[in-house]
C-alpha cells in the first residue's frame, strides 16, 4: 500500500500547491483590481482611516477630524463653526467632498506628492501620517459679521470681501447655506438623504452664490463704464460735465432708458461725480453709446471679466459683460442690465482694483499649508491679476466713490472717522419681479484694508429693496468688523 500512499501524498501536495498558487495569484497579481473595485467597501473605510488636516481661519478651527475610536470609521470630520463657513470649507461626504475639502483634498488627506518627505519621516518614526493643515485668509470677525447681517430677517444673498493690496479673501458668505456636519457623517444612507433634501430645496442652500452664480450687477457696474470713460480721455475728472436727460432715447427701439424711478437727474447737465452719486442711468447709457461696445468690453476684460477662468482654489463661474448687439443693448449693459452677468466675487475684484490704484490682485483663499508637524508646504504669494486702469483714473474713481457714500445713495455705509467709498446697485431681474440689491465698497479710501461686494437676492428683502437701503448697512457692519470699529 505504500506506493499508493505515496501517490496520495503527492496528490495532497498538489492540492496544497494549487491553493498556494491561487492565493499568490489573488493577493499578488489580482490584488490591485480587486482592491479598487467600487463594491469593495474598504475603500469607503479608508477615507476615514487617515486623520485629515484641519482647516483654520485665524484662531478659528473650521474643520477637523475627530478620532472616534471606531475601527471602521476611525476619524469623523467635524465643522465646529458649521453653517457660517460651509460655502468655504465644503463638506467631506462618504463619496465626495466639496470646496476647500475638494480643492485641497490630496494635501488634507496626506497623499499629495508635496508631503512625500513628511510621509517618509513618518514611515521611519512609525507614526501614522496625518494630513496637512490648511489655513485660510478668512477673517473670522468679518465672516461672522457678514453672516449675521446678511442672514438677518431671512435675506438671501452673498458677500465677498477682499484685501485690495493682496487679493486675500477676507470673507465669503452665501445664504441660505447648510450644515456641513450633516453631509459629513460616515453613513451613506443618512448623508444621501440629507443631500437629496438640500439638492431639491428651491432656495439652493448648496449653491455658493459668491462665486458659482452670476447676477446682473445693476448700477454697481457703472464704475466700469465710468472707468472706461475716464481712461478714454485723461482730461476728464469728477467735475467734468455730462448730459443727463430724464429719459435717454434708445436708437432703433420704441423704448427709452429712464433714470431709477423715472426721476430727473439734476438739471439735465451734471458732473460725473453727481451722476455716480445719484446713480443716474441716462449719462452712463449715453457715455457707453458714445464710446462703443469695444471700449466698455475692453475695460471689463481689464477688470478680469470674461478672461481666464479663476480658481480661488474653488472654480469661479465666469462673469460676462454680454455679446455685442445694438446701441440700445450696449446702453443697458453699461448700467449692469441686459446680458451683463457678474459673480459677487468679480464685483469685489472691481472694487478692490479701484481701491488698489488700478491693480487687481488675484483673489485667493488659502493663506498657508503646513504639514502635521508645522512644516510649511506652501504659503500664499500675492499675485497681480490685471492692471485695470491707470493710477490717475483710479484716484478719480476713488474720489467719486467716496462722494457716493458721503453725499449720494450709499450714505447708510458711512462709518464715523473712516472714509468709505462705495457704489450701490439695484438690478432689475424681470418685469414685475423684485430687484437684486447690490453694494460694492472699500475702506479706508486713502489706505484700503477691505474691498467688498454684497448682493441681496431678488425677493428676499422686500419689493423696495435697493442697494442703498438694503445692502449698504450690511456692508458697513462687515467693514467695521475688519477695521476694528
Amino acid at each position: 500500500m505504500n506506493s499508493t500512499l505515496k501517490r496520495v501524498a503527492l496528490a495532497c501536495l498538489l492540492m496544497f500547491g494549487l491553493l498556494m498558487l491561487n492565493v499568490n495569484y489573488l493577493q499578488g497579481v489580482r490584488a490591485d483590481d480587486l482592491r479598487a473595485d467600487s463594491r469593495n467597501v474598504r475603500n469607503f473605510f479608508d477615507r476615514y482611516e487617515v486623520e485629515r488636516g484641519r482647516i483654520t481661519a485665524g484662531d478659528k478651527v473650521l474643520a477637523e477630524s475627530v478620532d472616534t475610536g471606531s475601527n471602521d470609521f476611525r476619524f469623523e470630520r467635524r465643522y465646529p463653526e458649521g453653517k457660517v463657513y460651509a460655502p468655504i470649507t465644503g463638506f467631506f461626504a462618504p463619496e465626495s467632498e466639496s470646496n476647500i475639502e475638494l480643492a485641497e483634498n490630496s494635501l488634507l488627506n496626506g497623499t499629495s506628492a508635496d508631503l512625500l518627505i513628511r510621509r517618509s519621516i513618518d514611515l521611519f518614526t512609525a507614526k501614522k501620517t496625518k494630513g496637512a493643515n490648511v489655513d485660510l485668509t478668512i477673517n473670522p470677525k468679518a465672516q461672522e459679521a457678514a453672516y449675521k447681517a446678511l442672514g438677518a430677517s431671512g435675506k438671501k444673498g452673498a458677500l465677498v470681501a477682499i484685501e485690495p493690496k493682496t487679493g486675500a479673501i477676507l470673507a465669503m458668505v452665501s445664504i441660505p447655506t447648510y450644515d456641513p456636519n450633516l453631509l459629513s457623517k460616515a453613513n451613506k444612507d443618512e448623508v444621501n438623504k440629507a443631500s437629496k433634501k438640500l439638492e431639491t430645496d428651491k432656495d439652493q442652500p448648496l449653491l455658493n452664490r459668491a462665486i458659482r452664480r452670476t447676477y446682473p450687477p445693476g448700477s454697481t457696474f457703472k464704475v466700469v463704464t465710468m472707468a472706461a470713460y475716464l481712461e478714454s480721455d485723461g482730461t476728464l475728472g469728477p467735475q467734468s460735465q455730462v448730459d443727463a436727460p430724464q429719459r435717454l432715447d434708445l436708437p432703433n427701439t420704441t423704448a427709452d432708458l429712464p433714470n431709477y424711478g423715472g426721476a430727473a437727474c439734476g438739471s439735465g447737465r451734471v458732473t460725473l461725480s453727481f451722476a455716480l452719486e445719484r446713480s443716474c442711468n441716462t449719462p452712463f447709457g449715453k457715455i457707453a453709446m458714445d464710446l462703443g461696445y469695444d471700449a466698455i468690453n475692453d475695460q471689463a476684460r481689464k477688470f478680469g471679466i470674461g478672461g481666464d477662468p479663476l480658481a480661488v482654489p474653488m472654480p469661479v463661474a465666469p462673469s460676462d459683460f454680454g455679446p455685442e448687439e445694438d446701441k440700445a443693448a450696449l446702453a443697458q449693459a453699461s448700467i449692469g442690465q441686459r446680458s451683463n452677468q457678474m459673480t459677487p466675487l468679480q464685483m469685489a475684484m472691481i472694487a478692490a482694483g479701484i481701491a488698489n490704484n488700478g491693480v487687481v490682485m488675484k483673489p485667493y483663499l488659502v493663506n498657508k499649508i503646513a504639514d502635521s508637524e508645522g512644516g510649511e508646504i506652501e504659503s500664499a504669494d500675492p499675485e497681480e491679476f490685471t492692471t485695470a486702469i491707470s493710477e490717475d483714473t483710479a484716484r478719480k474713481l476713488q474720489e467719486m466713490m467716496v462722494n457716493v457714500v458721503n453725499n449720494g445713495t450709499a450714505n447708510a455705509a458711512q462709518i464715523p472717522g473712516v472714509t468709505v467709498a462705495g457704489k450701490t446697485g439695484t438690478a432689475e431681474t424681470a418685469e414685475g419681479k423684485d430687484p437684486h440689491a447690490w453694494f460694492i465698497s472699500f475702506a479706508p479710501a486713502e489706505d484700503p484694508k477691505i474691498a467688498l461686494a454684497l448682493m441681496v437676492e431678488s425677493g428676499s428683502a422686500g419689493d423696495d429693496a435697493s442697494g442703498g437701503h438694503t445692502a449698504a448697512p450690511i456692508a458697513k457692519s462687515v467693514m467695521e468688523a475688519v477695521l476694528g470699529r
Binding site: 500500500m1 500512499l5 501524498a9 495532497c12 489573488l26 493577493q27 499578488g28 490584488a31
Partner: protein, 459 residues
C-alpha cells in the same frame, strides 16, 4: 576470539522535549497575536490576553502530558501544529468579536477547544490500541450513516442557512453530526476495504491500458456515491457530500492500488455534479458564481456572489503583508467566523500569513501520511491515510472554494472556524493520528541478540 560487531537497531527518538518547546512556541505566537489585536484596536494589550493565553497553554500542556504518558512515541510535530492553527482560529474569532461580527464568540470557541482537548485525551487514554476499531467496522458504518441522516429526522433536525445539516439536542445545543459521521465512516471504510481489498483489486476486462474492475464489484462505490448524492439532495450539503465521496475514492485507491477506481470515481462525481447542476437551482447557482463571480447581477442576487467577492476583496486588501491583526475590516465578509475565516485571516495576515497557514496544514497532513506509511498493518495504514487525506481534502475544498479555485461548497476550515462539532471531531481525528503514530514509531519488542555474550547488569 573476535566478537562480531552488532549494529544497534536505530530507535526513533521520542523528542518529547522538542515537542514541549514547539508547543510553547505555538502558544507564544498565539499570545503575541492576541496582544497584536488588542494593540491595534484599543491601543493596549487586551486584559484577557493572559487568561486566553494561559488557558490555551494549560489545555495544551494537559494534552501534552496525556500524550507523553499514553502515546510517548507519537510524532512530536502534530500537537504543536494543531495548537498553532487552533490558536490562530481563536485569535481571529476574538478579533471578529471585537468588531462585533455576527455570532462571533471567542469564549465559546475557547470552551469548545477545552472540550476538544478533553476528547483528545479521552481518546488517547481509552483507545490504547486503535486496531480495536477494526472489530467495530460495521458498527462504525452504521453509526456513520445514522449520524449522517440524523438532521433529516423530525424534531431534532434543523434547517439553518438553507442546509439541513444540524441537529438540536436539548440542553447541549446544535451539533453538526456530519463532522462526527466522517470519522465513523473512515473507520468503516478502512475496516471494510482491508477485508475486501483483494476482491476489489481483481481485474476484470482491460480497456486500453486500464484494468477495469469486475462489474459485480461496483456495488460499494455505487452505494457510497448514492449516499453522497443523498446528502447533497436531501440536506443540500455540497461540502460534506464531496468530502465523503472523495475520501472514499482515495481510500479505495490506497487499498486496491487500482487507478481505475479513481477514474470511475471521477466519472461518477462529474456525472453526479452535472446531474445536480441541472436539477437543483442551488447547485447551478454555485456554478454560475464560480464561473463569473464579478458579474454585477450575480453580486446583487440573494445567495449570489457577494459573499465570495467580499472574501476576495478582503484578501486583495490584505495583499502581500496584510493589514495587520485588528487593522482590517474582515467583518465585511459574511460568515467570516466560519466558512470564510480563511479570507478574513488573509486580509489581516496577508499572503505571508496564508502561505504559512497552508504550510502548517500541509505539515499536519504530511505527518499523518508519514504515520500511515510507517504503520505496520493494512488497517492502520488505511485509517491513517484516510484521516490525513480527509484533512487535506477538506482544506482544499473550503479554501479552494473561498478563493474561487473551485466552486464554493460550505465546509468548515479545520481547527479555525467557529463551531463546536467540527472542532471536537477534528481533535478526535488528531487523537487517532497520534495514537497510530505512537504505534508506528514504537520500537518493536527486540529479540535478545547474541545470546552467547555475558549479560552485564548495571546497578
Amino acid at each position: 576470539m573476535s566478537t562480531p560487531s552488532v549494529e544497534p537497531v536505530p530507535l526513533p527518538a521520542k523528542r518529547r522535549l522538542a515537542q514541549l518547546a514547539m508547543l510553547a512556541f505555538a502558544v507564544v505566537i498565539v499570545m503575541f497575536a492576541y496582544a497584536n489585536v488588542g494593540l491595534a484596536i484599543d491601543k493596549q494589550i487586551p486584559s484577557g490576553m493572559l487568561t486566553y493565553g494561559l488557558s490555551l497553554g494549560g489545555f495544551m500542556l494537559a494534552a501534552y502530558l496525556v500524550l507523553a504518558k499514553f502515546a510517548p512515541w507519537a510524532d512530536p510535530l502534530i500537537l504543536p501544529l494543531v495548537t498553532l492553527v487552533n490558536g490562530l482560529g481563536l485569535v481571529m474569532i476574538y478579533r471578529l468579536e471585537q468588531s462585533k461580527a455576527f455570532g462571533a464568540s471567542a469564549n465559546t470557541q475557547l470552551l469548545w477547544t477545552a472540550v476538544g482537548v478533553v476528547l483528545f485525551s479521552v481518546t488517547l487514554i481509552v483507545l490504547r490500541d486503535h486496531r480495536a476499531l477494526q472489530r467495530l467496522t460495521y458498527t462504525a458504518g452504521a453509526i456513520g450513516l445514522l449520524l449522517l441522516i440524523s438532521p433529516l429526522l423530525p424534531f431534532i433536525g434543523k434547517n439553518i442557512n438553507g442546509a439541513r445539516i444540524w441537529i438540536e439536542i436539548p440542553g447541549v445545543g446544535q451539533l453538526q453530526p456530519a463532522e462526527f459521521a466522517k470519522l465513523a465512516l473512515i473507520v468503516f471504510f478502512a475496516g471494510y476495504l482491508v477485508a475486501k481489498r483483494d476482491v476489489l483489486a481483481l481485474a476484470g476486462r482491460r480497456l486500453l491500458f486500464i484494468d477495469l474492475p469486475r462489474a459485480r464489484d461496483l456495488g460499494p462505490i455505487l452505494i457510497v456515491w448514492g449516499f453522497s448524492l443523498g446528502v447533497l439532495i436531501l440536506q443540500k450539503d455540497l461540502g460534506s457530500s464531496l468530502l465523503i465521496f472523495g475520501t472514499f475514492i482515495a481510500m479505495l485507491y490506497i487499498a486496491t492500488q487500482r487507478t481505475s477506481w479513481v477514474l470511475i470515481g471521477i466519472l461518477l462525481f462529474v456525472g453526479g455534479a452535472i446531474l445536480a447542476g441541472m436539477v437543483f437551482e442551488h447547485v447551478h447557482a454555485r456554478f454560475e458564481v464560480y464561473l463569473n463571480p464579478e458579474d454585477p447581477e450575480l453580486f446583487q442576487k440573494v445567495g449570489g456572489s457577494e459573499q465570495l467577492m467580499q472574501g476576495l476583496f478582503a484578501m486583495a486588501t490584505g495583499g502581500i503583508l496584510g493589514t495587520g491583526l485588528g487593522q482590517g475590516h474582515p467583518k465585511q465578509i459574511p460568515l467570516a467566523i466560519s466558512d470564510f475565516i480563511f479570507p478574513a485571516t488573509g486580509e489581516e495576515l496577508g499572503l505571508t500569513g496564508l502561505m504559512a497557514l497552508l504550510m502548517v496544514y500541509a505539515l499536519i497532513v504530511q505527518r499523518g501520511l508519514r504515520t500511515s506509511i510507517a504503520a505496520r498493518d493494512p488497517f492502520s495504514k488505511l485509517l491513517a491515510g484516510g484521516l490525513s487525506f480527509i484533512l487535506a481534502w477538506q482544506v482544499f475544498i473550503i479554501v479552494g472554494g473561498v478563493t474561487n479555485l473551485i466552486p464554493l461548497t460550505g465546509l468548515v476550515t479545520p481547527f479555525m472556524s467557529q463551531g463546536g462539532s467540527a472542532l471536537l471531531a477534528n481533535w478526535i481525528l488528531i487523537a487517532l493520528l497520534v495514537r497510530m503514530s505512537d504505534a508506528a514509531r514504537k520500537p518493536p519488542p527486540q529479540a535478545i541478540q547474541d545470546e552467547g555474550m555475558t549479560q552485564v547488569f548495571q546497578r
